[in-house]
């Protein structure tokens, strides 16, 4: 918000205060972490209607989608963290190898310190608070910068986060580029960014100054391969739910384009048309069950994709739009050229190109020749095809016979690879991503072998070499004791 003036000095001061809280050790206790997680759940319960309203204002998001993908997911994420937190926080005992005998070793999860979370406008509540779940579960202090492109959600977070969470440890900073730049200039112990690759590069470059590790949750063109042997009705429903049912395609894991066979495509298209009408009615621009486009910039970007000469003739369904209401109807395009704009950038909207091939296997090469997507989807009943897809397609995540569902499974890490991002979260992975895994080795003074100290003789090297033949472990146990140099005595060796 323009009125919310946020200068560099104030930023510095705020981070100092947060570091003060962290250094006091307040955020490390189990009780504090639990209180914050419960605070988030309470906020969701108390403010549900206001959140739904804010999402309606920002995105025209249907109540159902808000309840499922934002509030519901967030609450289940908190509930899971609350249930498992004690377990996550426990040091992990490991075998300390024989070299260090007698000793014990463990891996301690410690908070990183002060973390910055920069979130996105498409799921403005979930993508802001789900990383906060991980950050507080791991015992960090955090600053959240919600997206200015979803202003109602941003101000809702700015209003309620301080009310429900410990404001000495968690702050919300609203704003756009200047505020983000001021924040990125500070020293953080982790930066967690959700958005696009262009800004992702800026974030990572800014992180260099303080060698701050980053998590980048980006997007990409997530393909959907459809085989002809599937249960068409179910597959089509799932595709629609995974395209238009996810914020009208404005979701990083939604289906970007489809590849299917030339033979099968007429059936697939018919079924898509039929099912779309059943879901969203004859005039989808009027449907209450579809989000609108977030703003006029994105509306113009999307219509530009459709207006490209070689693309506009390929529209086989939909194509209607209403700029005043920022609505674009579910649109299907058939066989758009590969070098078109719509096939070059992430669509992030209700347009769905379908490409056709003779044999489905050809699509694998096509996907591999492009940037690694955040998700890759395959609908098939053929085991061999599944196996090859999983083995050879690199993507953040893979779902077979469904779309986006892997996002909801907390036992699976969620994140990208290559152009689609780095680092992952959800469930325990959220805790881990905001923790440092510290190795701690406890040694005793019993059984300190005199052989480990110099001066060494030539005989000792011979002993070591003899031991190599026997067992490597035995060798190491001898070696570890010998961190000293061998000196001139071995010159002849």
């Amino acid at each position: 918000m323009a009125s919310n003036k946020f200068d560099v000095e104030a930023t510095t001061l705020m981070v100092e205060e947060l570091r003060g809280t962290f250094n006091a050790g307040k955020t490390r206790s189990y009780e504090w972490r639990v209180a914050q997680l419960k605070g988030i759940i309470k906020m969701m319960d108390d403010r549900e209607q206001e959140i739904i309203e804010a999402l309606r204002l920002d995105l025209g998001k249907p109540e159902f989608e808000s309840a499922v993908y934002e509030i519901g997911m967030l609450k289940s994420s908190c509930a899971r963290a609350l249930k498992e937190l004690k377990h996550w926080m426990m040091p992990e005992k490991v075998k300390s190898s024989i070299v260090a005998f007698p000793s014990s070793a463990e891996i301690v999860s410690e908070p990183l310190g002060a973390v910055l979370i920069i979130s996105a406008w498409n799921y403005p509540i979930l993508l802001s608070l789900d990383p906060i779940v991980g950050a507080v579960a791991a015992g960090n202090v955090a600053v959240l910068k919600p997206s200015e492109i979803a202003p109602a959600s941003s101000s809702l977070l700015a209003k309620y986060v301080p009310e429900y969470l410990d404001s000495s440890a968690i702050r919300v900073v609203e704003g756009g580029v200047p505020e983000t730049t001021a924040l990125l200039d500070q020293k953080w112990d982790k930066i967690f960014y959700t958005g696009n690759g262009r800004v992702g590069r800026i974030v990572m470059a800014a992180a260099v100054k303080h060698l701050t590790p980053v998590v980048l949750e980006l997007g990409g063109k997530s393909p959907v391969i459809v085989d002809s042997d599937v249960n068409l009705k179910v597959a089509v429903k799932r595709i629609i739910a995974g395209k238009w049912g996810l914020n009208n395609g404005q979701a990083c894991i939604s289906a970007d384009y489809i590849i299917t066979t030339k033979d099968f495509v007429p059936k697939l298209v018919d079924s898509l048309k039929h099912q779309l009408e059943k879901f969203y009615g004859i005039n989808p621009l009027e449907s209450k069950d579809l989000s609108r486009i977030v703003n006029s910039n994105h509306f113009d970007r999307l219509t530009k994709l459709l207006d490209e000469e070689k693309v506009s003739s390929k529209i086989i369904h939909g194509g209607q739009s209403d700029r005043a209401q920022l609505k674009i109807a579910p649109t299907i395009l058939l066989d758009v050229p590969e070098d078109s704009l719509i096939m070059s950038e992430e669509i992030f909207g209700p347009l769905l190109p379908i490409l056709t091939v003779d044999r489905l296997e050809e699509s694998f090469d096509f996907i591999r020749s492009r940037s690694k997507p955040l998700a890759a989807y395959l609908f098939t009943n053929r085991k061999k095809l599944k196996d090859e897809f999983v083995r050879t397609i690199s993507a953040g995540g893979i779902a077979i016979n469904d779309i986006a569902l892997h996002l909801v499974v907390p036992s699976l890490p969620y994140g990208g690879v290559g152009e689609s991002g780095m680092g992952s979260y959800h469930g325990k992975f959220s805790f881990d991503v905001f923790s440092h895994k510290k190795s701690v080795l406890y040694r005793s003074f019993v059984a300190d072998a005199p052989a480990r100290y110099p001066p060494y003789s030539q005989g000792k090297l011979r002993l070591l070499k003899a031991l190599v033949v026997g067992s490597v472990l035995a060798v190491i146990s001898a070696l570890i004791g010998l961190p000293e140099h061998f000196g001139s005595k071995d010159k002849s060796a």
């Binding site: 159902f64 310190g113 260099v208 779902a399 290559g418 070591l464 472990l473 961190p483 000293e484 000196g487």
Partner: protein
């Protein structure tokens, strides 16, 4: 360079590096390389760093052999997809996490352990099924050319390449798109690596250093004091003359114990390294020698020398040197020392060491010698560092089960054992669904029944769901604007 990189990309795309048998054969060849060429390795290391055969074996060849063996015996296990539980609501479906190779990775290694720091990451990269470029440090020239000459004789030339050169070569390499960059070296170059990586969104592991402190709780050591002092001496002067990221940098002790500790240290140095202390490796190169010499030339630092301090420019040799309370703002206390100089800083109470460490960048390792359990707990929970070792030095480096790596200024990411495999793998979640049992509540048009359904589903309230389906549970109205 262009041609090499294109070839490596091609090899990766062919899929050959993904198979278990390829990975296994590469690791086996690497093991054979180490066995066949032990003597050549010793020679190269002596030439570059003046390391003795024994030090070569225990810090470089030995740990590498151990790591290859460890990787070989666990590889199958690491490669197996991890099955994960899926909530019943998604029945029928199965989920797993599959580790897949990143693709083409760049390993930039450092001169102080020119074999270990190049090949230990290589073990991880090969185990994970990547194609690899290794850029060894030009400051260990003999080792660099050994790697360039020997690796192609043992490993798949189409998948692993050594590219030699100086900073310009590194800069040139960094212009290419890599799927992962693994760097060992200084924070200064680490920043350079990371900012180039940002252009291609390449994830990085940065193995840096920092000032690793020793908290020496003299008062609690009682009869173990002799052993403790020996371990301190070996952790300072016994690893490449302190030219190691893990070496002890400085020591914290209570003031009243400074004098007895120094006496013990002096005696130990004489015992371990001989009267003239010539028996520790020389400095690796003129640059490092000159830097260390300059540290000692600061008049306030020179005044604090209480043992050693003599340098021999011709042989690049620096005597094991102890400083007592050099100024805290001097360079020797500001930067990583990376040489055989040990500053001792005295405190009134050993508890102050926590504050002392916390007011500085996070070190790679904190060493603490103490029998006081409460102090151990406080150090463990109140400080932050890559790792902590109580009552010994360096050995955590050899524990395959412990992740090795820094935090904050001491680096990002970790490796060793399974962690090496993970550092070069993308953990890809795979969810496989069936077509049975489709729940219409997932699909629009939305209504109150579907809303209630989803609420219950999120709570995994299966009984509630059953009631809802049987019409025995009421649901509210759906607010449709």
């Amino acid at each position: 360079m262009e041609a090499s990189i294109t070839e490596l990309r091609h090899t990766f795309r062919s899929g050959i590096t993904r198979s278990y048998s390829w990975r296994k054969s590469q690791l086996q060849s690497l093991s054979k390389l180490l066995s066949d060429n032990e003597h050549q390795c010793f020679q190269a290391l002596r030439q570059d760093l003046g390391k003795s055969n024994l030090e070569c074996y225990k810090d470089e060849i030995g740990p590498l052999k151990k790591s290859v063996d460890y990787a070989l015996s666990h590889l199958k296990d690491w490669m197996n997809p991890k099955k994960v539980g899926i909530p019943m609501i998604f029945f029928p479906s199965k989920g797993e996490i599959k580790s897949e190779p990143f693709g083409l990775v760049l390993i930039i290694s450092s001169w102080n352990f020119p074999f270990n720091l190049a090949l230990e990451p290589l073990i991880g990269a090969l185990a994970a099924g990547n194609t690899v470029v290794i850029k060894p440090s030009e400051y260990a020239q003999a080792c660099s050319s050994f790697l360039a000459d020997t690796l192609p004789l043992y490993l798949d030339k189409m998948a692993v390449k050594v590219i030699e050169g100086d900073a310009d070569t590194t800069q040139q390499l960094l212009q290419y798109k890599w799927d992962k960059i693994f760097f060992t070296g200084s924070p200064r170059v680490g920043r350079l690596v990371m900012s180039e990586a940002a252009k291609h969104l390449t994830p990085v592991t940065l193995e840096l250093g920092g000032k690793c402190p020793v908290i020496f709780d003299f008062g609690s050591m009682s009869s173990d004091i002799q052993v403790a002092v020996k371990r301190v001496a070996s952790g300072k002067w016994g690893v490449c003359s302190g030219q190691a990221c893990l070496a002890i940098d400085y020591l914290l002790v209570e003031e009243k114990f400074a004098s007895p500790l120094i006496d013990l240290l002096k005696g130990t140095i004489n015992k371990l390294y001989g009267e003239n202390s010539r028996n520790i490796p020389r400095m690796a190169n003129k640059r490092n020698f000159g830097r260390l010499q300059k540290l000692l030339e600061d008049p306030l630092v020179a005044d604090s020398v209480i043992h050693g301090g003599s340098v021999d420019e011709e042989n690049l040799h620096i005597e094991p040197t102890i400083l007592l309370n050099p100024p805290l703002n001097s360079e020797v206390m500001a930067d990583e020392i990376f040489g055989p100089i040990l500053p001792i800083i005295t405190l009134n109470n050993i508890l102050e060491s926590i504050e002392f460490i916390n007011s500085r960048p996070k070190p790679l390792t904190i060493y603490a010698f103490t029998h006081n359990e409460a102090l151990k707990d406080r150090i463990s929970t109140e400080t932050s560092s890559g790792s902590i070792v109580f009552n010994d030095v360096i050995i955590h480096f050899l524990c395959d089960e412990l992740p090795f790596g820094g935090v904050g200024q001491s680096g990002t990411g970790s490796y060793h054992g399974k962690y090496s495999f993970d550092a070069f793998s993308h953990e890809k979640p795979v969810l496989d669904r069936g077509f049975l049992l489709e729940l219409d509540a997932r699909y629009p048009p939305w209504n109150a029944f579907k809303m209630e359904f989803v609420r219950l589903a999120y709570k995994l309230n299966y009984f509630g769901l059953l009631l809802l389906f049987l019409g025995l549970r009421s649901y509210g109205s759906y607010n449709d604007h």
